[in-house]
Symmetry: C2
Subunit: 139 residues, 2 copies
C-alpha cells in the first residue's frame, strides 16, 4: 500500500514489526491518563476488537494475555486509534481499578526530577494492593 | 539491577532494546492528547534532557532529529515519565502548532469504526498546511 493511502486513507492496515508486533498504548478514555504500553500481534488485536476487552501479546511469556485475567482489572475498549503510518495504536479504555501490577493506577508513576538525568521522583500514590489482587502472575 | 529496584526505586535506568532504542510517547501536557510515538537512543534522550526540546532517533533516516527542526513545530518538554519496568517513556510536552507531518495536531487522527476490523474514520481535522510548513523533510 502506498504511503499516501496509509496516511490519508480509511483502510485499517496495521503495520506489524519483524516480530509480528505493534505498540499499543492504553489511555484512560475519561481522564486522558496514559495507563500502560504493551504489544499486540494480529491475534491479540483481533481478540480485542471481537471481545471489547484489551488483549495483548506478552513477549516475556510468549502468549496472549487479556489485561485483568489475573487481577480482575480489565480494560473495556471504547475506541482504537491508529497513527499516521499505522505502526502504533492507542486504545481508549474504561477502567474501574488500578492498571499497573505494582499497585498504581498507571505504570507511569515516576518522573525524572527537573534538571536531573538520573534521579526519579514519585508522581502518584498506589491505588490498590497488588498482593491481594494478583493470585498468580501479573496482568 | 533487580526488578524490585527498577520498579520501586528512584534511580532512572532506562532499558534500551537490542537496537539501543526506547519507545517515547509525546503527550500534550495541557490537554492530555497523545501527539506522536517515536524512538530515542541514549544520545537523543540526553539531548532532550539537556535542551528541553524533544529529540528522537529516526530509524528510517538513521540519525537524531529534533521534532520541529524542519517545520518549526517544536515540543517543549515539561516532564519525562518512565513506566514500571523502565522500558518506555512519556514526554509531557507543550506545543503551539500541529505535530503530525500530515497536517493534524496529533498523529492519531483516525479510529477504527465501531464493530469493524478494517474501516477507519477520521476523528480530527487538519490544523495546518504541511506543504507550507515543511520545506524539506519531515519533522
Amino acid at each position: 500500500m502506498e504511503s499516501q493511502q496509509i496516511e490519508q486513507g480509511l483502510q485499517f492496515s496495521p503495520k506489524f514489526d519483524a516480530d509480528g508486533l505493534i505498540v499499543a498504548i492504553a489511555q484512560d478514555a475519561d481522564t486522558g491518563e496514559i495507563l500502560m504500553v504493551a504489544y499486540m500481534n494480529r491475534e491479540a488485536l483481533d481478540r480485542t476488537i471481537e471481545t471489547g476487552r484489551a488483549t495483548y501479546y506478552s513477549r516475556s511469556r510468549g502468549r496472549l494475555w487479556t489485561k485483568g485475567e489475573q487481577s480482575g482489572h480489565f480494560q473495556t475498549v471504547r475506541q482504537i486509534l491508529v497513527d499516521c503510518d499505522q505502526d502504533c495504536l492507542v486504545l481508549k479504555v474504561a477502567v474501574d481499578a488500578g492498571q499497573c501490577h505494582v499497585g498504581y493506577q498507571s505504570c507511569f508513576y515516576r518522573a525524572l526530577k527537573p534538571a536531573s538525568k538520573i534521579d526519579l521522583e514519585f508522581t502518584a500514590e498506589k491505588t490498590y494492593d497488588p498482593e491481594a489482587a494478583y493470585k498468580a502472575g501479573k496482568s
